[in-house]
């Protein structure tokens, strides 16, 4: 079976990060995902480097790059658009909108992440879409949602992280609040959009009733604050930045070691003697340190006793020393570490995909693995811009070669003639 969602048709109007991660999960599970891209330039994330052909240099982003061919080999586009088909279409033209509505009539799901109001201005409001297909699931992902006073605010990941409450609790107390390195608000919102879309699809298939999902990235962030929000709600006490130490904990965080950084997690109090033993310091067995509260009170002293061992040893050795003693130690993996990680290699996690421009690269595979017999996931490279214009219009709408050519000549659609 070619994927768990074989036969599900997805009309993908997403671009950049949050929307494409949602539809990547759908295409990965075998849904027939047709990504509608802007003529000439495509998804903006195509212009985001680094590029396979660009050597080591990170080039400027899309707003600053003018002219030239559409890049086909940017790391972000390649990863976020695996197993999708690309249909290059001018949505702003009358004929383009008509084609889009024909596609929407055939689709089970439409996912978009335009700024709120963007679909309306294209004449593709939810009311217009549901008129041609009442069972259609329309998933709208945006920074702040389709309603509310901040609806039209502009935001980058940085601002979403701040307004979502995650930033206030990340970083050192005496320094500026920090965002994480990866755009995890956008990616996480894309994940949740996938779950929301699946729920609405199941409902639509049972009842024939489609609907619109309104998913806000900032709101997603507020949903995963866990105790950082709850302790204020419960007791009025604010949660603050604690750097690399766990909140209200000691010997619980990231520490330097000989070849990088490790994560020490002291675990429950009855396991503390194991930590002391691994660190090879009798002083750590001092009764002052045996309880969580005691360690917190003497956190600097505890750190000072642990550091000599840590500085002398390598991250993987420390990680395994902890794990072999039943402690949940970790280490800070680099990209190289990830590609070489014995656990991931043993589980055949990675997939190699060959791309006509980018060549063969190693991609992280399925985030979750159902048993082999199900063949839940499909793995195909990301599409070239307009690579599937003709085939998608043919398979979804039965357009002939002549019809496609005419639309190309009129500038409504574009086809990639191969690289």
């Amino acid at each position: 079976m070619p994927g768990l969602l074989e036969g599900v048709k997805v009309l993908d109007l997403t671009h950049y990060i949050a929307g494409p991660y949602c539809t990547k999960l759908l295409s990965g599970l075998g849904a027939d995902v047709v990504k509608v891209e802007r003529l000439g330039t495509g998804d903006g994330v195509r212009w985001l480097g680094p590029f396979a052909s660009g050597g080591g240099k990170i080039p400027p982003g899309p707003p600053f790059l003018e002219g030239g061919n559409v890049p086909e080999d940017g790391a972000w586009f390649l990863y976020l658009n695996t197993a999708k088909q690309s249909l290059a279409l001018d949505l702003k033209s009358h004929a383009g909108r008509k084609i889009l509505l024909e596609l929407a009539a055939k689709a089970d799901i439409l996912v978009e992440n335009f700024a709120p109001g963007g679909m309306d201005s294209l004449g593709l409001s939810y009311a217009e879409l549901s008129q041609v297909n009442p069972a259609l699931v329309v998933t709208s992902i945006s920074n702040f949602g389709q309603t509310g006073p901040y609806r039209d605010w502009k935001a980058s990941e940085l601002n979403l992280y701040a307004l979502g409450g995650l930033m206030n609790i990340t970083g050192e107390p005496e320094q500026e609040p920090l965002k994480e390195g990866m755009p995890l608000a956008q990616l996480g919102a894309g994940q949740n959009a996938f779950a929301a879309t699946m729920a609405a699809l199941m409902y639509a298939e049972e009842t024939g009733e489609g609907q619109q999902i309104d998913l806000a990235i900032a709101e997603y962030a507020t949903n995963i604050l866990e105790n950082a929000l709850m302790q204020y709600s419960y007791s009025g006490q604010e949660y603050s930045r604690v750097g690399n130490r766990g909140y209200g904990r000691a010997a619980w965080g990231i520490y330097p070691c000989a070849d990088g950084h490790v994560g020490i997690i002291a675990g429950p109090d009855h396991r503390w003697p194991e930590v002391a033993r691994i660190m090879g310091r009798e002083e750590l067995s001092d009764p002052r340190f045996t309880s969580r509260a005691g360690r917190l009170e003497h956190a600097d002293e505890v750190d000072a006793y642990m550091l000599p061992f840590l500085i002398d040893n390598n991250k993987v050795d420390i990680f395994k020393a902890g794990q072999e003693s039943g402690l949940g130690f970790s280490f800070v993996a680099t990209m190289k570490d990830i590609l070489e990680m014995e656990q991931l290699l043993d589980r055949d996690y990675f997939v190699q995909l060959d791309h006509p421009v980018a060549g063969t690269l190693t991609y992280p595979g399925a985030p979750i693995t159902p048993e082999d017999s199900v063949e839940a996931w499909v793995f195909r490279r990301a599409p070239l811009l307009g690579e599937h214009t003709a085939s998608a219009l043919n398979s979804w709408l039965g357009y002939s070669e002549a019809q496609v050519l005419e639309l190309v000549q009129k500038g409504v659609i574009a086809q990639n003639e191969g690289t």
Binding site: L4, L25, P63, Y79, G148, Y150, W153, A155, N159, A162, G165, L166, N168, I169, T170, G171, E176, P177, L178, E180, N192, A195, A196, A199, L201, Y203, Q211, D214, L225, E226, N227, A228, M230, Q231, Y232, S233, S235, E238, S240, G246, I254, H261, G263, H270, G326, G328, F329, S330, V332, M335, E342, L344, R347, Y349, A358, P364, P367, I368, T369, P370
Partner: protein, 427 residues
């Protein structure tokens, strides 16, 4: 038990939920939000550690006003924000009677989910093969830290560890400094959300084929899946990603800037030329527009320290919300760094109903994060507060399994079920 909701996407599905802490519970939270019937099963000797210790010290902020009360395990905010609209039961799987009841529960459930240490359920004799004897089309989701195979399968992992082992922490941190953890256990909700979507796809597959399946979740793999672009970038450049603090590799400025008040900050990002121009106009007094040091994006990136200094001088005497409103009106991405009280009072979140007030019998009315998205046809709502330990034993074992009153009494008498912890759990 309550009647299932009329219009909710997953109202026809029952999930037997043995998961704990956050990764598994976030998955079943999303299911509960979508109307599924979640039976959260705990042991009286080892209940979900998010409930906290049996006898915690006073003053811990996770309890209402820092007061643990008579039954602290029912008053912990960590737990109570993740299990709303779920049923709560207890059962001791080490007792023969408990096993019989468990097998009956399996037989009426569509899904079994657990995130024990790898192999725990198997050691109790419950392999997928064995479970399927009780429910042939069962979907079994097993989510240990590193999956159910491989040399690390028996290793332990927490959300904080997955941030590190996925490479997320490697990329997070101030420029020139070491890696930094996030403020949450970020690996957990990532796994929970992935699992929720895939589990729905599996249920849909079962609806079409009649077949259940075994789903092996490695929390680590789930986290690495979000690192894909950087894994590819490394292969392209041969260079590890830099820690950039709040800066961008593509545009400038981007940072959090100090504002009036203690620990008050505003984030500002000019992601393109137009936004930069608008920012310089909004801060016209600073003279940025004519400064040749900042004429191009490349120069702004190169002179970012100087740019940060100038912007900080401009923000430091202003309120974070005021700077935000000024810049947003000019079309520049900006946002205050919101703290707990700010979030609950924020006009936008109030307008959207992002946080909901739920009245818990042992806590009283408090605010919680609600359903994380809006749906036009099946809006749903938080239906009831998180269950106290064993709160729904009688409902579930009586109404769903058809046990009689005396049979349930006997289970209580033998300690197979109950509402009071038997261990002195320490976390």
């Amino acid at each position: 038990m309550q009647k299932p909701p009329e219009r909710m996407p997953l109202k026809n599905y029952r999930v037997l939920d043995l998961s704990r802490i956050w990764a598994g519970p976030y998955c079943t939270k999303l299911f509960a939000d979508m109307g599924a019937e979640i039976i959260k099963m705990e042991s009286l000797s080892v209940y979900d550690s998010h409930r906290g210790p049996v006898s915690p010290a006073r003053g811990i902020a996770a309890y209402p006003d820092g007061e643990p009360g008579e039954e602290p395990w029912n008053r912990n905010g960590w737990f109570n924000c993740l299990h709303m609209s779920k049923y709560g039961v207890t059962l001791e799987l080490t007792e023969a009677e408990g096993r019989m009841v468990f097998e009956q529960l399996v037989s009426i459930s569509d899904v079994l989910i657990e995130n024990f240490r790898q192999g725990s359920l198997e050691r109790l004799g419950y392999t997928y093969e064995e479970l399927r004897k009780h429910r042939p089309d069962l979907i079994y989701v097993s989510m240990p830290a590193f999956g159910n195979t491989g040399p690390w399968k028996g290793y332990l992992g927490y959300g904080i560890g997955q941030e590190q082992l996925s490479g997320m922490a490697h990329m997070t941190g101030y420029r020139g400094d070491g890696p930094m953890k996030s403020g949450i256990n970020h690996g957990d909700p990532i796994t929970g959300s992935h699992a929720a979507g895939v589990l729905m796809a599996a249920l849909r597959h079962r609806r079409r084929t009649g077949k259940g399946m075994y789903i092996d979740v490695s929390q680590q793999e789930s986290a690495v899946a979000l690192m894909g672009p950087e894994v590819l970038a490394y292969q392209m450049t041969g260079e590890e990603p830099e820690r950039r603090g709040n800066r961008s590799g593509w545009y400038a400025p981007a940072n959090s800037y100090p504002c009036a008040g203690e620990d008050r900050w505003v984030t500002i990002a000019a992601t393109n030329e137009e936004q930069w121009q608008r920012l310089t106009q909004a801060m016209s007094a600073a003279g940025l527009a004519d400064d040749p040091h900042f004429a191009t994006a490349e120069q702004r990136r190169e002179n970012h320290d100087e740019l940060d200094r100038i912007i900080s001088e401009w923000t430091i005497s202003q309120e974070a919300y005021a700077v935000t409103h000024l810049l947003q009106a000019a079309g520049v991405p900006a946002g205050p760094v919101l703290r707990g009280p700010d979030l609950l009072a924020d006009a936008h979140y109030k307008d959207r109903g992002t946080f909901v007030t739920v009245d818990h019998p042992q806590v009283g009315p408090k605010q919680y994060p609600g359903i994380p998205w809006r749906m036009s046809a099946t809006p749903g709502r938080v239906r009831w507060p998180s269950p106290t330990l064993g709160q729904h034993n009688r409902d579930v074992y009586g109404e769903l399994l058809g046990l009689t009153g005396p049979e349930i009494d006997l289970l209580e008498k033998t300690g197979t079920i109950g509402t009071k912890p038997t261990g002195s759990r320490i976390i």
